[in-house]
Amino acid sequence: MMEDEAFTDINGKSISLDCQNHSGFCREFTVSSSKVSIGKVMVYTSGVWLLAYTVFFFTENTAVLTCAILVTLVGMMLHIHFVKVDHESLLVIGSLGIQVSSSYASGRETTTFIEQSKIKDIVINEAIYMHQIIYYLCVLLKDPSEPDVVSSVVPLFQSSKPRLNCLVKVYKSCQEILSKC
């Protein structure tokens, strides 16, 4: 079973939520954010190169131009490898745990798996972010020895930051699975 719906993130950019039902107690949610726009890349690249050219115009040192090319290339690589998140996914497996993974534009993937015995609940929380108040989904963790205390919080969909209507949808189906097991 697959569903694909379009939502917007807190900045108004469109993102898509993809729910995949593997079985009654295993569901996967993938939030894909928008791709890198070519316009933005052009603006940054031309900005750096124009700056380098002005410096070159006054100093007449060709090393400046080489540096500019290297800076743009390395910057782009670092950006797609460490900053730009292509999609984030949440795999909820009833009675086994929750797996959070985010894959970067370069294909790098970071994954963490949280065991069921450590999960206290999944909730929607409010946070102050810059000048606005946003909602986010988070997993409350507990220590197995002290089941009533929340030991730490793992925020989900940190880089795509979907809006509340998307979060509610994910929240409801997560609770459905968690309550079953």
């Binding site: 009654g24 107690f25 295993c26 497996i93 009833g94 086994l96 797996q99 450590k118 197995p144 020895s145």
Partner: protein
């Protein structure tokens, strides 16, 4: 609850037989370790499992049956069901795989206290469940309804799971009642500890045949086995040499005051004692207990080998083409040059440096004092110059003990060759410190206050006119002489800081070679599954009608965590006080030392 079956990938295509493994209590999960094939005699299987249980300490049991029917092997259903009566268990798993299908089907047979078999089947659920409930009692009805077909197969690669170490490492056996290890940790422990089960390969002539990751033959490396054999006499030899070395170090002559003080200040001696401690750890005859200790030993060994290799490289470069003589020939003129530059600097300071008008008398006195010192120093260097080449030649040999020794020796030599700069710095700092303290206490007198030593605070005090007059006079004199002293102090502190910086870089690199966990890093790069941070799951196939199949992969540890966890504890090399404290010390005129604190040892 959902039943989780951890199934090894190597058993996917195994012939039909019995599954041996362990139920993890409290988590409703089963770990399948191996499959024992038909034909077998049940008594022998029981005996084998008991034997394995004694060897590994894992509560092994027969979990159920596994069937992969081949041509001409149909109608085994009833036979498989009968097997459950031979191996009495609370639960009996019956896993089927059909040819042409990727998914498995699983049936669970429950056995209640009375010994009657209660059966649940995924396909004929309604009939069977009703019948079973009728026998077992109405209580379980709802539960049974919910529980049907809820099985997750988690496929794992047995070899990787067996060899990997889940982090954070648990040392020692924790009390099982207070803090039971998590489910995944128990799975990892079970697979790792049931190693004796994997020694039975297909070439054995025993009555039983089984499938697991080493079915095709046991995996081992000849080189590793040979090294293990060779390590015993080597350890003995090193231990003997070490005992001689400690005997030499223990002679009373070395514990006399000046020698002990000197050896604690020389970084070569510190490095020597440090290396001795390392070798003692390595040469102990006891095998490493636990993962942490093993990694520590391995890290030390690899660091030592790399260190010696780098040292040999340095020796090869030094003694080729007579680089030593070249170095010695440049060293004396360099020291001369530094002294000459210093002399010029002093001459400049004795005039009007940067247009500042100094107190002429004090300036002359200080300048002449330092000039005389430089003169002494130059004559000392010239006295030494014939021997410098020999010293370098023999000192270079120390690099065969490792690059760290060569670096430490270099640091010591720099300290000795720049001793005059240190002296200047100390004189300047002491003078400056004296003035600052005098000024601060006279400033208090100026305001009619004094420092109360007993109460550690400033109290008000009434002074005589004479006292006030003398105090103010002295204050004025000190204040006007301060710029001259401050200038000398500033210049020599800058010189000293350059030397300290150089020595600090040397010490940092020595510390880096000593403490960097090379072995752990190598494992992380080449065998990333050996150091696991956790696991990650991937959904495998989805065939309607079969259970959910997940693939469990190992999530390798991050490089930064590897360095943090396995860093060999060394003498701390970083400045103990913060930058602000350092600046304050410089401002007040307290002495600063190179970044090494021998007494503090950080883990």
């Amino acid at each position: 609850m959902v039943l989780k079956v951890f199934f090894p990938q190597c058993c996917n295509r195994a012939d039909s037989g019995l599954m041996v493994g362990r139920w993890i209590s409290g988590h409703d999960s089963a770990v399948v370790l191996a499959v024992i094939h038909y034909p077998f005699i049940p008594g022998q299987v029981k005996q084998y499992i008991q034997q394995m249980q004694a060897q590994s300490g894992v509560e092994l049991s027969v979990l159920g049956s596994w069937s992969l029917p081949k041509e001409g092997q149909e109608g085994m259903e009833s036979f498989l069901r009968d097997l459950s009566t031979i191996f009495p268990q609370e639960r009996w798993l019956q896993i089927n795989r059909e040819i042409g299908k990727t998914g498995f089907t699983c049936q669970i047979l429950d056995r209640d206290q009375n010994g009657r078999a209660v059966q649940r089947e995924s396909k004929k659920k309604t009939e069977k469940a009703d019948k079973a409930n009728g026998e077992a009692g109405g209580d379980k009805e709802e539960e049974e309804e919910e529980e049907e077909e809820k099985v997750i197969f988690v496929h794992y690669e047995q070899r990787k799971v067996m060899q990997s170490q889940l982090h954070p490492v648990e040392n020692g056996v924790s009390d099982p009642k207070t803090d039971p290890p998590s489910e995944l940790r128990q799975v990892f422990q079970t697979v790792a500890r049931s190693q004796p089960l994997f020694f039975l390969d297909r070439y054995d002539d025993g009555p039983l045949k089984s499938t697991h990751w080493q079915t095709e033959g046991r995996e081992a490396s000849i080189i590793v086995e040979l090294l293990k054999q060779a390590s015993v006499p080597l350890c003995l030899l090193i231990g003997w040499l070490l005992s001689i070395w400690t005997w030499i170090c223990g002679i009373r002559l070395f514990s006399l005051y000046p020698l002990r003080f000197l050896s604690s200040k020389l970084s070569t001696c510190v490095q020597l004692s440090y290396r001795t401690e390392h070798m003692r750890t390595l040469s102990s005859m006891k095998p490493a207990v636990g993962h942490t200790q093993f990694m520590r030993k391995a890290n030390i060994l690899v660091s030592f080998l790399v260190d010696v290799a780098l040292g040999m490289l340095l020796i090869w470069w030094l003694y080729r083409d007579n680089h030593i003589t070249m170095l010695a020939n440049t060293l004396v003129p360099a020291a001369d040059h530094v002294a000459k530059e210093l002399e010029q600097l002093l001459q400049w300071l004795m005039g009007a440096p940067a247009g500042l008008k100094m107190n002429r008398a004090l300036d002359q006195v200080l300048g002449r004092f330092f000039l005389y010192h430089i003169h002494l120093w130059i004559s000392y260097i010239h006295l030494m110059s014939p021997f410098i080449e020999g010293i370098l030649w023999y000192g270079g040999l120390s690099a065969c003990l490792g690059l760290t020794f060569a670096l430490s020796l270099l640091s010591d030599m720099v300290a000795l060759l720049t001793f005059h700069i240190y002296c200047f710095y100390v004189y300047g700092a002491r003078l400056y410190c004296l003035k600052i303290y005098g000024l601060s206490s006279l400033w208090r007198l100026f305001r009619g206050k004094k420092w109360n030593v007993l109460r550690q605070r400033v109290d008000s005090c009434s002074y005589d006119v004479d006292q006030l007059f003398i105090g103010t006079l002295l204050f004025t004199i000190l204040l006007f002489l301060l710029p001259t002293t401050a200038l000398y102090y500033l210049v020599f502190t800058l010189l000293r800081l350059v030397v300290v910086l150089f020595q600090g870089v040397l010490h940092l690199s020595v510390d880096f070679i000593n403490s960097f966990p090379l072995f752990a890093m190598g494992l992380r790069v080449c065998r990333s599954y050996r150091l696991a941070e956790g696991v990650k799951f991937r959904v495998l196939c989805e065939e309607p009608g079969t259970a959910l199949h997940l693939l469990m992969e190992i999530n390798p540890l991050k490089c930064s965590t590897v360095v943090q966890t396995y860093r060999t504890p060394t003498y701390s090399c970083y400045p103990k006080d913060s930058w602000a404290a350092l600046v304050k010390k410089l401002f007040v005129g307290e002495l600063i030392y190179p970044w090494r604190h021998k007494t503090t040892k950080t883990d």
